[in-house]
């Protein structure tokens, strides 16, 4: 079946969208998360509300936003506010169910680096920095991570902790989040181009399912530690023809993010 052929990005979008089933309010980033949330709105989460850190609640984009501040997310939105109000009352106020984050590096406990590669004062590479990521990681009820995996991105030690994940493990993370009254429970799922990962009771990532056609060897080769695996390692259900049609015909006809 032709619809059985799909790109790695399409698989990531579909896998992330399915995770949004039952979620109510989602903090959207540009790129893949944006397409994933829009797909979820058309499939598993019809009532999901899109919140953009640029100050938009209840966006109804008429086209695929090419930036997080695209005018198409403003026209027809439910509310447009100052960024102070968005961050203070919506995010910090505890109204966000899911925040999407990407990163250049992630460790086994889901801590994220989007600041620098190498030492902070003499970086090998200067990355964009936090943006809203640090406060999203702390205040969104749960965090979905979307990123490609490679030996350079899935590392034993991240060079800089921009956004806290499960810290040194579940026990420490739960204690600190409780003691300091964080609203966020931390990362719950990591969707990559090869697999879907969740966190076990120790707070460590494990491979829940491999995307169709992906081998365990490929996954191991792109992770800087010996990855844990689900007791019964599943295969991520492939995108359905309906999901692919929505992505290709409605959400990203130009293929800006999906090719």
């Amino acid at each position: 079946m032709t619809e059985a052929t799909f790109t790695k990005n399409e698989m990531m979008i579909v896998a992330a969208a399915r995770e949004l089933a039952g979620q109510r309010v989602c903090f959207v980033g540009v790129g893949l998360p944006n397409i994933a949330v829009n797909l979820a709105q058309r499939t598993v989460a019809p009532d999901i509300e899109l919140v953009y850190e640029s100050g938009v609640f209840g966006a109804k984009p008429a086209r695929l936003p090419l930036s997080i501040g695209d005018p198409t997310i403003v026209t027809g939105a439910t509310a447009v506010t100052s960024m102070h109000e968005l961050f203070a009352f919506y995010l910090q106020g505890g109204l966000i169910d899911v925040g999407f984050l990407g990163a250049a590096q992630i460790d086994r406990f889901g801590n994220l680096n989007s600041t620098v590669i190498g030492p902070y004062d003499a970086p090998k590479a200067r990355l964009p920095g936090s943006g809203g990521a640090c406060e999203i990681a702390i205040n969104a009820r749960q965090v979905f991570v979307i990123m490609r995996q490679s030996a350079r991105s899935f590392v034993e030690r991240i060079d800089f902790r921009t956004s806290p994940g499960n810290l040194g493990g579940a026990e420490q993370s739960e204690r600190i989040r409780r003691e300091q009254g964080w609203l966020g429970r931390g990362p719950s799922v990591v969707v990559t181009d090869l697999a879907l990962w969740r966190f076990d009771e120790t707070g460590e990532l494990f491979v829940e399912s491999l995307h169709p056609g992906v081998t365990l060897a490929e996954v191991r080769a792109t992770v800087g530690w010996e990855p844990k695996l689900a007791a019964s390692l599943a295969t991520t259900p492939a995108p359905t023809s309906a999901e692919l049609r929505l992505i290709r015909e409605e959400l990203d006809p130009g293929g800006a993010y999906t090719r």
Partner: protein
């Protein structure tokens, strides 16, 4: 998309306002929900902690009716007219039913709601220096800046169990738009556990979405939408009706006389089953006299993309 939250005032108050709650009916002169206050009196809620920057006539009435045990406020009076007799009698007395007062300055009250809305443990402000207010309210405390650039005062978050906001218009999902004085309604609503919006007019979602910058409260935090035209009388609604200053003047002799106040409550609250009856009793002539002339804002263009 979202299911309708439209409810009658009776059902909204019955379901969302409970004995012992901290209730904030906010609105600075503008948009005070007298309709909600009267329904709370009719349903005989008790032991409420009432929060409002300016308690105004509505809290004088609720306190006269025995709904409250405590008042959190920043300015207590009938603006430009005189005192609030019921509150004053309960506050100056020393019986078991003495009304507990917790007072701040205006900015302190705004700061308490803001901290509540932002889930902050405190709100810092440059007030209270060398004032006696911190001496009589332990919830106003000094705080040093961690940057060695001075000390300010802080107030703690105020998170009402219920905030009630009157507005010009809302849609069925509770997305609410207000123009004119905004007071601290946004902060009070985001700070609250439950929110009741009382709207002059129920509008289609499309009306809200046509001007998203005008939205003050998102339906996301709203539990019930009550459509109650003239529900803010004798306060006012910008563009819809004027403040009934005569009512505020007439209140002065009533509030000074417990019997007269009890009689007023019997006639205008207990004796009526809701706002529609109240408006009918007010009479068409008085209502008509409060209608303003028109002053259109004009329209701006948000553009379509694509």
């Amino acid at each position: 998309m979202a299911t309708s939250k439209v409810a009658t005032m009776r059902d909204a108050v019955a379901e969302l306002v409970r004995d012992g709650d901290t209730v904030a009916i906010e609105g600075f002169t503008h948009l005070i929900s007298f309709a909600a206050g009267h329904e709370i009196i009719r349903q005989r809620r008790r032991d409420l902690t009432l929060a409002r920057m300016t308690p105004d006539l509505i809290y004088d009435q609720m306190i006269a009716a025995g709904c409250a045990r405590k008042l959190i406020f920043s300015w207590l009076g009938n603006p430009g007219v005189g005192t609030l007799g019921a509150i004053r009698r309960r506050a100056e007395g020393d019986g078991p039913d003495r009304l507990e007062l917790e007072e701040y300055s205006h900015f302190g009250m705004v700061g308490r709601y803001t901290a509540g809305a932002a889930k902050l443990p405190f709100y810092p402000l440059r007030s209270y220096f060398e004032s006696d207010l911190p001496k009589v309210n332990a919830r106003i405390r000094e705080i040093d800046s961690p940057f060695g650039n001075g000390k300010v005062y802080a107030v703690p978050p105020l998170q009402p169990d219920v905030s009630i906001v009157h507005a010009q218009r809302a849609d069925a999902a509770g997305n609410t738009q207000i123009w004119g004085l905004l007071g601290c309604q946004k902060e009070a609503a985001f700070a609250a556990e439950r929110v009741i919006v009382v709207a002059e007019e129920l509008v289609d979602e499309a009306v809200i979405r046509a001007d998203p910058n005008r939205t003050v409260i998102p339906g996301l935090i709203v539990d019930a939408v009550v459509v109650e035209p003239f529900g803010a009388h004798p306060s006012y609604v910008q563009g819809a009706y004027d403040r009934d200053n005569r009512f505020y003047l007439d209140w002065d002799p009533i509030t000074k006389d417990e019997a007269a106040l009890a009689a007023w409550l019997d006639e205008w609250v207990y004796g009526l089953d809701g706002r529609a009856a109240y408006v009918e009793k007010l009479g068409a002539a008085r209502v008509a006299a409060l209608r303003p002339g028109r002053a259109p804002s004009g329209s701006v263009d948000y553009g379509t993309y694509p």
